[in-house]
Amino acid sequence: MSKQKTEIKEFNTPEEFYRKYLKIREEHRSKGFENQFPNFSDKETEVEFRNFHIAYEEKPWTLYNIDLKIPKNKIVAIIGPSGCGKSTLLRSINRMNEEMAKIRTQGEILIEGENIYSPKVNKMRLRTQVGMVFQKPQPFPRSIYENIAFGPKLHGIKKKEQLDRIVESSLQSVGLFEEIEGRLDDHAYGLSGGQQQRLCIARTIAVRPQIILADEPASALDPKSTYQIEDLLLKLKEDFTVVIVTHNMQQAARISDYSIFMYNGVVVEYDKTENIFEKPVYELTENYISGRFG
């Protein structure tokens, strides 16, 4: 405990923390630990961070030198204490950070070999490729049908039959279609919290992204609905790459293939989930996972 506290005080900016972290990493490597981040071939890679930094307004870097690859059709969990930058990391993949505040970035994030921060990239198209599910279930105050049809309509699908099929298949893929028994015109707020969150996932799926980002998607739900969402994410990874932020260690262990442990704006450890949970390399990771701080 006390050791942890002094450490936090010592490295108050992510940049300072990163310098210290590099030293520790080198020490580890000289002792023969293998602590590389997982590597994937270009074909296996969905998103690649290359020395990516981001900062809000005039503040110091919030994320410092993120350099890692996220594999296709896997679930990658981001864990770490609150305020360490998990949401910021997630939102930098669909460039939602810049919709909430003024930001500056350095480095690159590549999707299909293209830097999404290059001026040529169209943010609207990017967001059809990278969908996002928020923390609280937040359907639009409209009917179930309109909730799902909004995205496709926006992007130019106008034919009623096409929209109908998209709505149906999207609802089916989240297991809602049977549950609501065709009451597509009911107000979305009539659904339970868990159903609303699945509706939000269906709404995201409806624009056919490759990647689904989920920021603590189950933290506002009861255990049963949480389980449903987890189950759903596991099945969705057959068709999508899923990146999920979670505060719930069991959840990360249960559903994710890989885990990223972040601390103070820096990715400390990234590995197969079982490795992170069973034999973490760093003391910091171990302390966090065993619940010694958070």
Partner: protein
């Protein structure tokens, strides 16, 4: 075990892959829209700059005579001639009079407004407070001519009765004041009427601020056993004092800029005396009272514009102070804190934060547990006092309005020679057989249609500008100088006294653009009054809608505009519409801006004006004012004017009430479309 069917998922059913050209188009549209919003919002800056420049321009003939300018603020001799070489231009009585009305009105409305706000926020359950609040806020939409009528009709006799009581005389004499014959219109009467109008402003802004005190702070104070009054003193007051002071200043600005009440009540007498029970004049009453004598380009006209400019400067300073207080400028705040010391005792030296309070209490926790009798008693006494303040306001206002309206109803329904139907008919349509047409027996029908026409036209001009400015400011304006200017312009336009708006529109549109008096210049004047109201309301309506709907839409690939248009604007519409109707209700009673730009007493040929310019129209509030001028005229030994003015007041009140009630109805009706159990 929950089953999720994923087998049916065929991701490649449809590829949502918007064409680059389509994306480009949407993006360009977004940029275009923002540009349009920005350009329209900038018009608020233009309005403000135009008002100031035109006032200066039309007052400028007087600037060539510095001695006359000096005379204006130092002497009390007002005999304007055609040229500045001749005559006297001392308006000291009017300048002093402005404060003779404004300060008593300020003191009264602080006691009423802040007192009842404290009572409603601390001593009343919120559910009950929310029921009482509309009764207070409705007073703000009662037109000033009606308060003028009330002050004129009742306050005189009430004051005479009150101040001629022996014991009151005795008390006054003790303080060295000898009550003499009380004239018909007095500073005190005008001040009370103005306090009626400014109290709701102060009360509702202060109440909002007090309610927004974080619950945590309140609860921690409560946990230490603080009484309601102590919670207010130590937690709520420090949290909300800035806003309370700002609201007081805004109310004061309103009071000194108000025209109709002082014009109808004070009698425009150049009395320079520190006495509230005398006739008097103010800057606004001089401007409107002497306007009829001012020929175009005369020195009198220039002098009136300079007086308007002076008034504008005073209100601008008041608003500036208010904005300094609400931003973090401590020095100015302390200055005002000292200025308003009589009120400041509430802070009671415990001005800082809840923490300090809790620290202090921690030491004596045991004593706190057994709350001392003395503190309990203080709490109850203050509660009763505040409750009395609330009650006195509600009673004073509603008894006056009620009595006034009942006397108006009497006019229609009291038994008499003629039937009620006949009287209603004559009131609306006039009586062709009656020969006293000049005295107003021409029926109110064309005044009603005139009011509807001018309000509709002002709505058509101001709603788009105001709504767009509100949208721009709340959703799309980047942080920067331009945005600050637009914001400041709206605040300042809101504070322009209505008589100055009248002067401006007269100068620029009636004379400058040769529109004369008519519905168009009149509507422009009312629009200037309406734009800040609607803009502020739009911003508030949008802020009340959670922004996550927009974020969700953007995350689905919408542009910021698309997200706003589909998932914020529609949800805010009910409240925006309510604002439209309440704003219309407010301006439908405005008289001062129309005095020089639109209103006439002459009956028009058609109910709805056929020309936009050079065709003055009848409107209800002007009708009331004009008919009152004839109160003292007797026809066959019978007073005529005041009865007609009362009748017109009843009709105007009905008009305002209808719009207000419609405003609340519209909200509930449109809301049903999106909200689910009231939730958006």
């Amino acid at each position: 075990m929950i089953q999720t069917e994923v087998d049916n998922l065929k991701v490649n059913d449809f590829i949502v892959n918007p064409a680059t050209s389509q994306l480009q188009k949407r993006e360009n549209f977004y940029k275009l829209i923002i540009l349009v919003l920005q350009i329209i919002s900038v018009s608020t800056i233009i309005i403000l700059v135009a008002v100031i420049s035109i006032m200066v321009w039309f007052g400028s003939p007087m600037f060539a005579y510095p001695d006359r300018l000096l005379q204006m603020v130092t002497e009390n001799k007002w005999f304007p001639e055609d040229h500045f070489e001749d005559g006297e231009y001392g308006a000291l009585a009017a300048i002093a009079g402005t404060f003779m009305v404004g300060i008593p009105a300020l003191i009264l409305s602080i006691i009423w407004g802040v007192g009842l706000a404290i009572f409603l926020s601390e001593y009343t359950r919120e559910s009950i407070a929310r029921k009482i609040q509309p009764a207070v806020e409705f007073v703000a939409s009662v037109p000033s001519v009606i308060f003028g009528m009330i002050a004129f009709t009742y306050f005189f006799s009430w004051f005479s009765e009150f101040f001629t009581q022996e014991w009151i005389r005795g008390i006054m004499l003790f303080f060295g004041y000898k009550v003499e014959v009380i004239p018909k219109g007095t500073y005190l009467a005008a001040a009370v009427a103005l306090a009626f109008m400014t109290t709701p402003i102060i009360a509702s802004i202060s109440l909002d601020a007090m309610r927004s005190t974080p619950l945590m702070l309140r609860n921690s104070a409560k946990a230490f056993g603080a009484t309601k009054w102590e919670i207010f003193k130590t937690v709520v007051y420090p949290h909300s004092k800035k806003t309370i002071f700002a609201s007081i200043l805004l109310g004061f600005g309103r009071a000194i800029g108000e025209t109709m009440v002082v014009l109808m009540v004070l009698g425009n007498a150049p009395v320079l005396k520190l006495d509230l029970l005398v006739n008097g004049m103010t800057m606004t009453s001089v401007i409107s009272g002497y306007w009829g004598e001012a020929s175009e380009g005369s020195s009198l006209q220039a002098a009136l514009f300079v007086l308007g400019l002076l008034l504008l400067s005073i209100t601008a300073i008041v608003v500036y102070l208010a904005s300094l207080i609400t931003s973090e400028n401590k020095a100015v705040f302390r200055f005002v804190d000292v200025l308003l010391k009589p009120f400041n005792y509430i802070g009671d030296g415990l001005g800082s934060m809840a923490q300090r309070f809790m620290q202090e209490l921690e030491l004596t926790e045991m004593q706190i547990a057994k709350m001392s009798k003395r503190r309990k008693l203080a709490n109850i006494i203050i509660g009763v006092l505040l409750g009395t303040i609330l009650l006195s306001f509600i009673l004073a206002v509603y008894v006056s309005i009620g009595r006034f309206l009942i006397s108006g109803m009497d006019y229609f329904f009291a038994p008499g020679e003629t039937s009620s139907m006949y009287r209603i008919n004559v009131t609306l349509r006039g009586d062709p057989k009656n020969t006293f047409v000049r005295l107003g027996l021409i029926g109110l029908f064309t005044a009603i249609t005139g009011t509807i026409s001018i309000v509709t036209m002002s709505a058509a001009i101001s709603f788009p500008v105001a709504t767009i400015t509100g949208i721009y400011l709340s959703e799309f304006a980047p942080e920067g100088r331009l945005t600050i200017w637009i914001r400041q312009s709206i605040i300042n336009i809101n504070a322009i006294p209505s008589i100055v708006v009248g002067l401006f529109v007269y100068a620029l549109f009636s004379v400058g653009l040769n529109m004369g008096a008519g519905i168009l210049p009149g509507s422009i004047a009312l629009s200037i009054m309406m734009i800040p109201i609607i803009t502020t309301n739009t911003i508030e309506a949008l802020n009340n809608i959670p922004s996550h709907h927009m974020s969700s839409a953007i995350a689905l690939g919408a542009t910021r505009w698309e997200a706003f248009w589909k998932h914020k604007f529609p949800y805010a519409l009910p409240n925006i519409f309510t604002g439209y109707l309440l704003g219309s209700a407010r301006v439908s009673g405005e008289t001062a801006p129309l005095l020089f730009t639109a209103a006439t007493f002459t009956p028009p040929a058609t109910p709805i004006p056929t020309n936009l310019t050079h065709q003055a129209i009848r409107v209800l509030p002007y009708e009331i004012y004009y008919r009152l001028l004839y109160t003292t005229t007797r026809v066959n030994g019978e007073k005529v004017g005041s009865d007609w003015a009362v009748a017109a007041s009843v009709v105007l009140m009905l008009f305002v009430l209808t719009l207000t009630v419609a405003g609340y109805f519209v909200r509930t009706i449109i809301r049903r479309r999106y909200a689910y159990n009231g939730e958006i």
